[in-house]
């Protein structure tokens, strides 16, 4: 049975993964973490993650203006790494994202994105 810890372990098997966490984006709180975090601070990383998700949800017209066109992924690339955020859609009330930090050289965006999609789906649905 895949639980939260199992999901994060799987996320760490994504090629190039350095760290992963599940973040509550209303409070900016890391519900679960594994591996490394930028500046070695998972809590600060979660707070930053929350701000990015809220900005995308509330201030970008392409997300918020079309009915049911919900936010799926946010991908931020830097010179040294990839930061991928995948919204975890639960039926009960929660506001969670799966965050994976990838090394730029070893990571592959397309592969990572597909694997995160599968992980987020498996976490909450017995499909």
């Amino acid at each position: 049975m895949p639980g939260v810890d199992h999901c994060l372990q799987e996320a760490m098997t994504i090629p190039g993964a350095v760290g992963a966490s599940i973040v509550d984006y209303t409070t900016g709180f890391p519900v679960a973490t594994t591996g490394a975090a930028p500046n070695e601070d998972h809590e600060a990383a979660a707070a930053g993650t929350a701000e990015v998700v809220q900005a995308a949800n509330s201030r970008s017209l392409f997300v918020s203006a079309v009915p049911h066109d919900l936010l799926e992924d946010l991908i931020i690339t830097t010179a040294g790494g990839y930061h991928l955020l995948r919204v975890v859609q639960t039926e009960f009330d929660s506001r969670l994202v799966l965050y994976v930090w990838l090394d730029r050289i070893r990571g592959n965006l397309a592969v990572a994105r597909r694997m995160m999609q599968r992980l987020a789906d498996e976490l909450v649905a017995a499909r």
Partner: protein
């Protein structure tokens, strides 16, 4: 069993965790709650101000009420309700863990944020849900303090967290932007439901509800609760008069009514008959009066049963009670 004493709930949790104890930390006061500890680690928390796992799962439609009740019937005595739901295939392990984590941090905020409350530790007590997650008690304490700070950064007024929610009748600007969660709250706020009532009704986390309410208060979209000494939310709340404060003098128009049937004498401009000073003196108390009776002849007496000045005090209370029962019944559905 330790006797009930008044202390900071967070400090007692730290002591319990350091001693690696198992049991329930019961926090009194308003809203209060309970934090369940297993060998020094937090496994669950509950509070009247935060919907529990059952409310979150059933009010969202994720589980049918029957499924949840069935799991309660089977698993309560052995404290394995959570595990049963996963074993029977109603929930994934991930969903259960995320739901329990969310509900626990949510309730812990309400149970532990008081600086001082009657607290009591019941050693050996377990929760019927069972140990689904194990959270470091220090992390819970840290997160509670961080959440208190976050709220005060949005809008520092703690009364918003407990007082009945009233949307303003007229927004303070031309254009208003609300989030989906704020819309839901505004639509269901009726001037009587408290934030806790709204969270339970909508199946939304209590803290997230308060967060949105503080944001709306900062934006001027909800009324700020008035500060009254000795006001306790446990009392029956009288209905808040929404936009009902029209000045009573309006009932006595000072412009004379000119009727076309009467003789067209220009000198017939008598002062309005209602402008005697006695009526004006009464006006501050007249807002809650029943509608005025038909005008009687000068010198005639009031009927005896109406002569005593006794406004129907129970009317409003009954209405509040009925509305709360209706809310509770809807939430059960």
């Amino acid at each position: 069993m330790a006797p009930t004493k008044t202390a900071a709930p967070g400090d007692l949790l730290t002591r319990v965790a350091e001693a690696r104890q198992t049991g329930a930390l019961m926090v009194g006061g308003h809203p209060g709650g309970a934090v369940y500890v297993f060998e020094g680690r937090v496994i669950y928390a509950e509070s009247p101000a935060a919907p529990g796992v059952g409310e979150l799962l059933t009010s969202s439609g994720r589980l049918a009420g029957r499924t949840w009740q069935n799991a309660l019937d089977l698993g309560t005595s052995t404290a394995r309700v959570g595990r049963l739901l996963v074993e029977q295939g109603h929930l994934t392990q991930g969903e259960l863990e995320l739901c329990v984590l969310g509900a626990t941090y949510d309730a812990a905020y309400f149970a532990l944020s008081a600086e001082s409350a009657p607290v009591e530790f019941l050693p050996g007590a377990t929760h019927w849900l069972g140990a689904v997650v194990h959270i470091d008690a220090a992390a819970v304490g840290r997160e509670v303090r961080r959440r208190i700070r976050l709220l005060d950064e949005i809008f520092p007024n703690r009364r918003i967290d407990v007082a009945p929610v009233s949307p303003v009748t007229r927004p303070p600007r031309e254009r208003v932007t609300v989030t989906a969660a704020q819309w839901e709250l505004l639509v269901h706020a009726d001037g009587q439901r408290t934030p806790a009532d709204l969270a339970q009704l909508l199946g939304r986390a209590g803290y997230a509800t308060i967060q949105e309410l503080r944001r709306m208060a900062a934006a001027g979209l909800i009324e700020l609760p008035e500060t009254r000494a000795g006001d306790s939310p446990e009392f029956v709340r009288l209905p808040h008069p929404r936009g009902a404060s029209a000045p009573v003098e309006r009932t006595a128009p000072s412009v004379p009514v000119i009727s076309g049937v009467t003789s067209p004498e220009p000198t017939a401009r008598h002062p309005p008959p209602n402008s005697d000073p006695a009526a004006a003196v009464e006006s501050p108390t007249a807002a809650n009066r029943p509608p005025r009776l038909a005008r009687r002849k000068p010198g005639a007496k009031l009927p005896k049963e109406l002569a005593t000045d006794s406004p129907p005090v129970h009317q409003g209370t009954d209405e509040v009670l009925l509305k709360r029962i209706r809310t509770a019944l809807r939430a059960l559905r």
